[in-house]
Amino acid sequence: MPLVHLEGVSKFYRVGDQEIRALDSVDLQIEEGEFVSIVGPSGSGKSTLMHLLGCLDAPTSGRMQICGNDLSSASQNRLADVRNREIGFVFQSFNLLAKLDVVQNIELPLVYSGLPSAERRRRAEQVARDVGLGDRMANRPIQLSGGQCQRVAIGRALVNNPRIIFADEPTGNLDSVTGKMILDMFRDLNASGKTIVLVTHDSDIAAVSRRVIEIHDGKIRREYRP
C-alpha cells in the first residue's frame, strides 16, 4: 500500500462564474521512504496539489488515500486529525508563532494531540536539540536567523513523528548556503526513513530528490529521476 495514492483527483475553484481547474484528474503514488520533488511554474497547480496531499483541503473529485486514510470526501475535522498525526509541514515563510519561544513552537502539534504537558515539553526539547537548537530553546523567532527559524519549523514538523513531511519552497527565504544546509537536513531525514515531499519552482533544488514530478496546467506533465 503506497503512502500517497491519488486516482483521478481534481480540484476546481469557482471565481465568479468562471471555473478554474487547479488540478485536473491527477494520478500519483508515493511510497514510504521516497524523496519526491514537485516542480512547476507558479499557477501550475503544484500548491494545490500540496494542499491536497497535506490534507489542508479535500479534492473536488477522485480518490485520495493518505497513509491508509481514504480522504476523498473527508470532513475538516478528519483532515485535521490526519494532519496532526501523519503530516509535518515546512513553509517558505517559516510560519512560526512570534509569541512563543523555540520549544513552545516545536511543541505546538503535540498540544493538539492531547499529550500531557510534561511529556510535550520533554519531546519538544529533545527535537530542539536534534535540529541543532539546543542552546536557543528559550529564544523567540525574532531573535533567530532565517536558517534557525527554518530549523524550528522542521523541528515542529518532526515532533509528532509523522510519516510524511511536506516542504513548500523551504529555501525560498534563505541565502544559498543556509538553503543548502536545510536541504541537507531533508536528505538526512530521508536517509533515516522519512518520506519527504518538496515543492519548488527551482529544478536545481529539485535535483536533491530522487524523483521529480513536473506539474503544468493542473496535470502531471512528466516524471523523471535526476
Binding site: 494542499h51 508563532l97 509569541k99 493538539y112 515542529r156 509528532n160
Partner: protein, 436 residues
C-alpha cells in the same frame, strides 16, 4: 486540546495586550460592580424592613377590631356584647392554633414620679401582651399571671416614659420606683428598651449622643411601644374602670383592644377560622368584628423590595450585556489580527473545535477577570454609597450576590465569545495561512 491549555493560551493572550484587555473588561467591571451594589442595597433594605416587621409583631400579630354592623343585622346589634374578656377566654379555650391572647383596657390618667408628671394613656393587659407585641426588657421583668390574678399594682413602662419621669436614671435604677397613676402608687417592675428603626439608630449614632434628633417630627412606628405604660388587666379594671360603669363586670366590660398571636404561620388561615368560630359564639352570631392582619401591609413592603431589586437588577443587567458586547467587539478585532496564527494552528492539526474552545475560553477569562475587578470595585462603590446616604439602610454584600454577579459576567463572556469563536473556527486553513 484540553481546557487547561486553552486557559493558558487565553491568559497569555490577555497578558500580552494588557491595556486592550482592560478596556474590553471595563464594561464587565462596571456591570458587575453595579449589580453587586444593587443586590447589596436591596439586601440592606430587605433586612431593615424585616427587622422592622419583626419589631411590630411580625405576621403572627392579629388584632380583633370592631366592625360597622350591616343594616340588615342592625336589629340584632344589642344581642352582641361586643369585644369582652369572654372573647379572650373563648379563644384561649377553643382556638388551639392561637398561642397567645391579650385583652386590653385603656384609660387616660395623670402619672407622676414625684419629680415629673404628665397625662398619659395607661393600658391594662395580660402577660401574653409582651409576647404578642414582641417586647424586650431593658431591666426588671414583664407582668406575670400573679400580677393579673391578684390585681397587683405593678407597672411596666416604655423607654420614653422612663426618660420622661426619671430623666437622670438608668432603666435598672427605675425598677423598684413608685409611679403614681391618678395618685395610686404602682411599683415599676420592668422597663422596656428603646425601640427604633435601623435607619434611626444609625442616624443617632452618626449625629452623636449630644445632638437632638429630628425624630419627633417624623412618623415613628414605635412611638406607641416606647410610650407604653402597662398594668395588669384586673388592676386596670378594679382601680380605674369598674366605677365608671357600675353595670359592668370584669368579664362584660367592652375591651379597647384584643390582640392575638398565631402559633404557627403554616396554619395561619386555619387559626383565623378558629378565632372566627369562637368569636361567633361569644358574639351570638352577630357579625360585628373583624380580624386585622399584617398580611397586606407586609405584602406591600415585600412588593416594593422586589420592585427595587428588579429595577436595579435590570439596569445592572443592561450594563453587563453592554460589557459583553464590548468583549465581542474586542474578540472580533483580535481574531482578524490573528488569522495567520489560527491558520498555523490549523495546519499543525488543530481542529475547528480546538480553535473555538481557545477563543471562547479567552472571552470567558476576560469576563471573569473583569468580574473579579468588579467585585473589588463594588467594595469601593458601597463605601461611596454609605457616604452619600448614611441614614438609609446600610448595603449588605452577600457571598451569594457576589457569586451570582460574577457568574452572570462569565455567562456574558461566554455568549459574547460564541460568535467570534465560530468565525475563527470556520476559517479555511489555506486562506488563513496566506492571510497577510
Amino acid at each position: 486540546m484540553n481546557l487547561f491549555v486553552a486557559l493558558q493560551i487565553g491568559l497569555s493572550e490577555i497578558a500580552a495586550h494588557k491595556f486592550r484587555s482592560f478596556l474590553s473588561m471595563l464594561g464587565i467591571v462596571l456591570g458587575v460592580s453595579s449589580l453587586i451594589s444593587t443586590l447589596a442595597l436591596t439586601t440592606g433594605i430587605e433586612r431593615g424592613t424585616r427587622a422592622f416587621m419583626q419589631q411590630v409583631g411580625g405576621l403572627e400579630y392579629v388584632s380583633v377590631v370592631n366592625k360597622e354592623i350591616s343594616n340588615q343585622m342592625f336589629d340584632f346589634w344589642n344581642l352582641s356584647p361586643g369585644r369582652t374578656l369572654r372573647d379572650a377566654q373563648a379563644i384561649s379555650a377553643s382556638a388551639p392554633l392561637i398561642s397567645h391572647v391579650s385583652p386590653e383596657l385603656a384609660f387616660g390618667a395623670a402619672i407622676s414620679s414625684g419629680i415629673k408628671s404628665d397625662r398619659r394613656q395607661i393600658r391594662g393587659v395580660f402577660p401574653d401582651h409582651f409576647v404578642i407585641a414582641r417586647h424586650e426588657l431593658a431591666a426588671g421583668r414583664f407582668l406575670t399571671e400573679l400580677d393579673v390574678e391578684r390585681g397587683l399594682r405593678s407597672v411596666v413602662v416604655g423607654d420614653a416614659i422612663s426618660r420622661l419621669l426619671w430623666p437622670d436614671l438608668k432603666p435598672v435604677a427605675v425598677v423598684g420606683k413608685t409611679l403614681l397613676i391618678n395618685d395610686r402608687p404602682f411599683e415599676v417592675v420592668g422597663v422596656l428598651p428603646k425601640y427604633e428603626r435601623e435607619e434611626d439608630k444609625r442616624r443617632r449614632t452618626i449625629a452623636g449622643p449630644g445632638k437632638p434628633s429630628r425624630m419627633g417630627q417624623k412618623w415613628d412606628p414605635f412611638r406607641q411601644k416606647n410610650e407604653s405604660i402597662l398594668i395588669p388587666y384586673s388592676t386596670m379594671f378594679f382601680d380605674f374602670r369598674a366605677g365608671a360603669f357600675p353595670m359592668d363586670s370584669m368579664e362584660s366590660i367592652r375591651l379597647d383592644a384584643l390582640i392575638l398571636r398565631v402559633g404557627e404561620l403554616a396554619h395561619f388561615r386555619a387559626a383565623l377560622d378558629q378565632v372566627r368560630a369562637a368569636l361567633s359564639a361569644t358574639h351570638r352570631g352577630v357579625d360585628d368584628f373583624d380580624l386585622e392582619t399584617r398580611e397586606e401591609w407586609f405584602d406591600r413592603m415585600e412588593a416594593s423590595i422586589r420592585a427595587t431589586r428588579l429595577s436595579g437588577g435590570l439596569i445592572a443587567t443592561i450594563s453587563l450585556v453592554v460589557g459583553g458586547i464590548g468583549i465581542m467587539n474586542i474578540m472580533l478585532a483580535s481574531i482578524s489580527e490573528r488569522v495567520r496564527e489560527i491558520g498555523i494552528r490549523l495546519a499543525v492539526g488543530a481542529r475547528g473545535r480546538d480553535i473555538f474552545i481557545q477563543i471562547i475560553i479567552e472571552s470567558i477569562s476576560i469576563a471573569f477577570i473583569g468580574g473579579l475587578l468588579g467585585v473589588v470595585a463594588a467594595f469601593g462603590l458601597i463605601e461611596i454609597l454609605k457616604l452619600i446616604a448614611p441614614n438609609e439602610n446600610a448595603p449588605i454584600m452577600t457571598l451569594g450576590g457576589i457569586v451570582f454577579s460574577v457568574g452572570f459576567a462569565v455567562l456574558a463572556g461566554f455568549f459574547s465569545g460564541i460568535y467570534p469563536a465560530l468565525r475563527a473556527s470556520r476559517l479555511n486553513p489555506i486562506a488563513a495561512l496566506r492571510y497577510e
